[in-house]
């Protein structure tokens, strides 16, 4: 028996860039209603590119089924072990090709920036997915505040290294600390968030408190958690999963149903809470927004 799902989200249901850039002009909930362009100046919510069958994942699932190896390798380990993480006070060291390298207090780093609620699809490289309401600031706003120099082509992020607070770092499962990076145009993209909350609350420790990256068109491992360092560089930084297994995890890690993980298909995914697998969408369904970033690039080679 072959059971097939509709192959794709119709492009008509994806919020055009012109509208989500002006997202404060409309109240975005989900689907077509959001596209009506209702004026709601106080609303900061935007369900960018969500389709009508994208239901928000239960908060309990999103906060109990996590990959955060700093707190253990099992999916339920982070929730159990992340209580030891002290998230306040928190500093973020900014250096590299930037006007003024400085150790920032997190509150000062984000002070005054527009806080937004965004509901994004979240696709793990392990072929499961969720829909998560994030709260955070646009990374581009933070970068604007930091004033990188013209030579800065990449942004490199680092997670806290402290085996006392992060018991998973006592074993060498990955080469700690966790590192991730983005090309500058990816980092400046309006979809890219530095999240400090989810489900309308402060980010739980197991989800990367106090501040994490959210890049909805990339596999979840790009979304580095508990960030303590932002560095601007001229060359592509090394990243943890790519270092651990270069043939399986690339720097770009864009969600792509046609480029399989060497050991499993990426054509489909299990949405947490659903029984049947659904088809995975190119760039996780954000192709209208981000495909132009990769124009002319061989996505098989730069996976």
């Amino acid at each position: 028996m072959l059971i097939r799902r509709p192959s794709d989200i119709p492009s008509s249901e994806i919020t055009p860039e012109s509208q989500y850039v002006n997202r404060r002009a409309f109240l975005g909930t989900a689907g077509a209603l959001a596209l009506a362009g209702l004026a709601a100046p106080s609303a900061l919510s935007a369900a960018v590119g969500l389709s009508q069958d994208d239901k928000v994942t239960p908060e309990e699932d999103a906060t109990s089924y996590n990959n955060f190896y700093e707190f253990g390798l099992g999916k339920d380990d982070p929730k159990r072990n992340a209580g030891s993480l002290v998230t306040s006070p928190w500093t973020v060291n900014v250096d590299g090709l930037v006007k003024a390298p400085k150790r920032w207090d997190l509150n000062a780093l984000l002070a005054g920036l527009a806080v937004e609620d965004r509901v994004y699809r979240h696709r793990c490289v392990e072929a499961w997915s969720m829909v998560i309401p994030w709260r955070g600031v646009r990374l581009r706003d933070v970068i604007a505040r930091l004033e990188p120099t013209a030579g800065a082509k990449y942004v490199e992020f680092t997670t806290l290294l402290d085996p006392r607070q992060m018991p998973g770092q006592r074993s060498n499962s990955l080469d700690w600390p966790y590192k991730e990076g983005l090309r500058m145009d990816e980092a400046m993209h309006p979809l890219t968030l530095l999240a400090t909350g989810m489900y309308g609350k402060t980010l739980p420790n197991q989800n990367g408190a106090p501040v994490r990256l959210v890049v909805p068109w990339k596999y979840g491992f790009k979304g580095i958690k508990s960030i303590v360092s932002i560095k601007f560089s001229a060359t592509q930084p090394s990243t943890s999963w790519s270092d651990a297994n270069r043939s399986e995890y690339g720097f770009f890690a864009n969600v792509n149903p046609t480029v399989d993980h060497p050991r499993w298909t990426q054509a489909k995914e299990r949405r947490i809470g659903e029984f049947l697998r659904r088809n995975t969408l190119l760039f996780n369904g954000y192709q209208n927004e981000v495909a132009s970033l990769y124009a002319g690039m061989d996505l098989r080679k730069f996976y």
Binding site: I3, S64, L73, W128
Partner: protein, 215 residues
């Protein structure tokens, strides 16, 4: 079971207890499934749990003979077939969860997996090797094949075991500790069997030479 008439009560109790033990995860899994205890991704959880049961039970079945040799507890042997059959049973459940729940009978995807994903290929090999062993596990088949041929056939269990652990090793994303532990355990069991085999050959050779010298 016709054989049970000739089986002493003690052995029947042992066998019953072993059956109870190997089937005990069934109500447990049903309870977890119903109560939501399998977490956010219950299908994945079922896959992992049933796979672990199969591998551990198969390893346990391999441990019986060495254990019997070391302890002299002959009654242990009654549990060997039960453990082996249970391992095969859990492997089949594992396969059914994958095909029926995970892929929801998408046989096209299943075939693609079997051909393209080496960990699936070798996992299928493990099950394919276990199937004839399960079929020929009865006393009737031991008689039909003859002890020596039956023994030879059932040495395949080591190949199946190694295939199963390799399947696990290749499926793991990062942490290969447990597969390595399984490999070491099975390596020790296999090493013990080879050691005993060699010793028996040497003893037999010595005895044969003794017979020749005496004649």
């Amino acid at each position: 079971m016709t054989a049970s008439r000739s089986t002493p009560t003690g052995r029947r109790i042992v066998r019953g207890l072993v059956w109870l033990a190997v089937l005990s995860p069934v109500p447990w899994l049903v309870w977890l499934f119903v109560s939501g205890g399998l977490g956010a991704n219950p299908i994945e959880s079922l896959q992992h749990r049933t796979g672990h049961y199969a591998i551990r039970l198969l390893a346990a079945s391999l441990a019986i003979t060495p254990l019997r040799t070391l302890t002299g507890w002959g009654w242990l042997v009654v549990s060997r077939r039960t453990l082996g059959l249970a391992a095969f049973g859990w492997a089949i459940v594992h396969l059914c969860v994958y095909v029926g729940l995970d892929l929801f009978f998408d046989f096209e995807l299943f075939l693609e997996d079997v051909v393209k994903r080496r960990y699936i290929t070798i996992g299928m090999l493990a099950i394919a090797l276990l199937a004839p062993l399960a079929v020929t596990s009865t006393k009737g088949w031991v008689k039909r094949l003859g002890g020596a041929r039956w023994n030879k056939l059932h040495r395949l269990v080591y190949v199946a075991m190694l295939a199963a652990i390799t399947h696990y090793l290749w499926a793991v994303k990062l942490d290969i500790t447990l597969p390595i532990v399984y490999f070491i355990a099975v390596g020790l069991l296999l090493g013990f069997r080879l050691f005993m085999y060699r010793r028996r050959r040497v003893e037999k050779a010595v005895k044969d030479r003794g017979t020749i010298a005496a004649s």
